[in-house]
């Protein structure tokens, strides 16, 4: 198999295009939706997709496209919070563990290994059953659960770089530890960290949607794609477009980032 030497591949391009498109729609949804996502219209229940209602209407006559835009916003913001919190904490923990090593590193690594052995949804279920439901608790539970994967990855990279010559010479020159960690080593871990961030983002979207679908995530009256899918299941027979369009939005959202991460990984591996 001949290996491509250029940094760009079809996965990266299609992922970037799709993600940009979805991001554009999400930004659009923040400022404008064709109809009010909560406006009910008794006369326009269960309308199939048409020029007036791009994705049709639901059981209350609400415009599904507007609701998908709003739900995608909510899902996206939750995923953004989860990744921001867990990546920051994970990188911090992982870099310290990897750079210093020692007993604390050993214990934390064991804990991270055991947490990642369990599926995130199961642990999230347990946490939510203890803390109660709602948006904030979903963010809390998922952030907590995603820390280990980032910590593990960063730890490995920092442990590897610790002994490299450029780090040694920086240390000899008297560069402060903080500067070595975050100015010298951290940028070199980006090729590994970046795909992990996109994967983490996908997992966050997926977990939030699953939890809301199961009724233990975002609660009704708030918008969420998972919640909409849970509603739409009842009308699978009479209004299949409700489920198909909402689910399609989730798939496209995830697919964009997953293509992006696949492209990044392929670029790294050559």
């Amino acid at each position: 198999m001949k290996k491509k030497t250029t940094g760009i591949n079809s996965f990266l391009i299609s992922g970037a295009v799709l993600s940009a498109l979805m991001l554009g729609l999400i930004l659009l949804g923040l400022v404008w939706t064709p109809y009010s996502p909560t406006a009910m219209d008794g006369a326009a229940k269960f309308q199939p997709p048409s020029p007036a209602h791009l994705l049709g209407t639901d059981n209350f006559g609400r415009d599904i496209f507007s609701r998908v835009l709003q739900g995608a916003d909510a899902t996206f913001l939750i995923a953004l919070c989860v990744v921001a919190v867990s990546c920051t904490l994970g990188v911090l923990l992982g870099s310290l563990c990897g750079y210093y090593g020692g007993l604390a590193d050993l214990i934390l690594t064991r804990i991270c290994d055991s947490i990642t052995a369990f599926p995130a949804v199961l642990l999230a279920l347990v946490i939510v059953s203890l803390t109660g439901r709602g948006k904030a608790n979903v963010i809390f539970a998922l952030s907590l659960l995603f820390i280990p994967s980032f910590a593990r990855l960063t730890r490995g990279e920092f442990a590897r770089c610790r002994e490299l010559n450029y780090v040694k010479s920086a240390r000899l020159m008297g560069v402060s530890t903080g500067r070595i960690l975050f100015r010298h080593i951290l940028p070199n871990t980006l090729p590994v960290l970046l795909p992990a961030v996109t994967i983490g983002f996908n997992n966050a979207i997926l977990s939030e949607a699953s939890m809301s679908f199961l009724g233990i995530g975002v609660q009704p009256t708030e918008a969420s794609l998972g919640l909409m899918l849970s509603d739409s299941q009842t009308y699978l027979q009479s209004a299949p477009w409700y489920a198909l369009c909402t689910g399609g939005a989730v798939v496209l959202l995830i697919l964009g980032f997953s293509l992006l991460s696949e492209g990044l990984q392929r670029r790294k591996d050559g």
Binding site: M1, P119, L122, V126, L130, N202, A209, S210, F213, V251
Partner: protein, 313 residues
């Protein structure tokens, strides 16, 4: 042998820690089970009496050991909501979820290995990329939406089954399995995509190794190289992955049971979380966690059996 004893000891310690965590987690719940059962209007005397009856007046450590002793004898305590032993509530749910897990695993195994070999041996770049893209799409579909798609396509459009019309295995084994095929397929599909991707990469890697080149230079045919040399080695990481995915299949079934209204452990777990029925939640979490630990242990052993290099360390 020494390795085996060491690993078994580690397994027992891990199971012990898991049970401790499963117990402690439900000690820090903000809501008091007694107020939950009696409501906020109860007299202090009634609350104290119920507390004593449930054994909640004893120290946490004592309760842990009595709970653990019960669990080891198969006694998980009594449900707060239904006032019946948790064991009886689980008795007809566990086999069902077990059956669903087994079927899903079977599907994953039967579909992913031939497809993975096919993907790994494709020589056309276009087909290979097409396969990879399809894989990527399949992995992007959330399991519950996939279940809904299966319901819609096979149930409502093709009318191969009626979604929601679950047949109990007590009434008819064949009817039950015929219904479970569809949720099992939904659970298996993303796993198949992941396994195919893994196997494809592993075969590709093996086919580039020196021993394959040597064998080829001595005149071995492509099929012989693939099945006799590359595949056995490529399957080693897949075995571990498959064993671990048994754990994920079990949790995926929690979600899928909800979509296909299969009255298994998953639905019981979700209902118990909503009701604040903590003895039931605790028991199910413990069983699922123990299952995951055991499956990982089995994966470890299988790995050592399959790869002689691991046995040597």
């Amino acid at each position: 042998m020494k390795q085996l004893i060491k690993k078994t000891l580690a397994l027992i310690i891990t199971l012990f820690i898991v049970s401790l965590l499963a117990f402690l987690a439900f000690q820090i719940i903000p809501e008091d089970p007694v107020t939950h059962l009696l409501g906020t209007e109860a007299t202090p005397e009634a609350a104290a009496a119920l507390r004593a009856q449930l054994g909640l007046d004893r120290p946490a450590l004592v309760r842990y050991f009595s709970w653990l002793a019960g669990v080891l004898r198969g006694n998980f305590g009594e449900s707060y909501s239904y006032h019946m032993p948790v064991r009886d509530m689980l008795a007809d749910k566990l086999p069902l979820t077990g059956l669903l897990t087994g079927l899903s695993f079977l599907f994953t195994l039967l579909l992913s290995i031939p497809l993975g070999v096919l993907a790994g041996s494709l020589r056309s770049r276009l087909l290979d990329n097409l396969f990879a893209a399809l894989d990527q799409i399949l992995m992007s579909v959330p399991p519950f939406f996939e279940g809904m798609l299966v319901c819609w396509l096979f149930g409502l459009v093709l009318r191969l089954f009626t979604p929601g019309d679950y047949v109990s295995y007590k009434d008819s084994w064949s009817g039950c399995i015929a219904y479970l095929i569809f949720p099992a397929f939904s659970i298996a599909l993303p796993r198949v995509a992941m396994t195919v991707k893994l196997l494809r990469g592993a075969i590709r890697q093996e086919m580039g190794q020196d021993y394959i080149r040597t064998s080829r230079s001595r005149g071995a045919g492509r099929a012989w190289l693939l099945f006799r040399h590359a595949l056995p080695n490529a399957l080693i990481p897949v075995i571990t992955f498959m064993a671990v995915s048994l754990a994920e299949i079990m949790t995926a079934s929690i979600v899928i049971e909800q979509v296909f209204t299969v009255p298994g452990v998953g639905r019981l777990l979700l209902a118990s979380i909503s009701n604040g029925d903590f003895p039931v939640v605790q028991a199910i979490v413990l069983i699922l966690a123990a299952w995951i630990v055991l499956v990982n242990f089995a994966a470890d052993l299988l790995y050592a059996l399959a790869d002689p290099r691991v046995r040597l360390d």
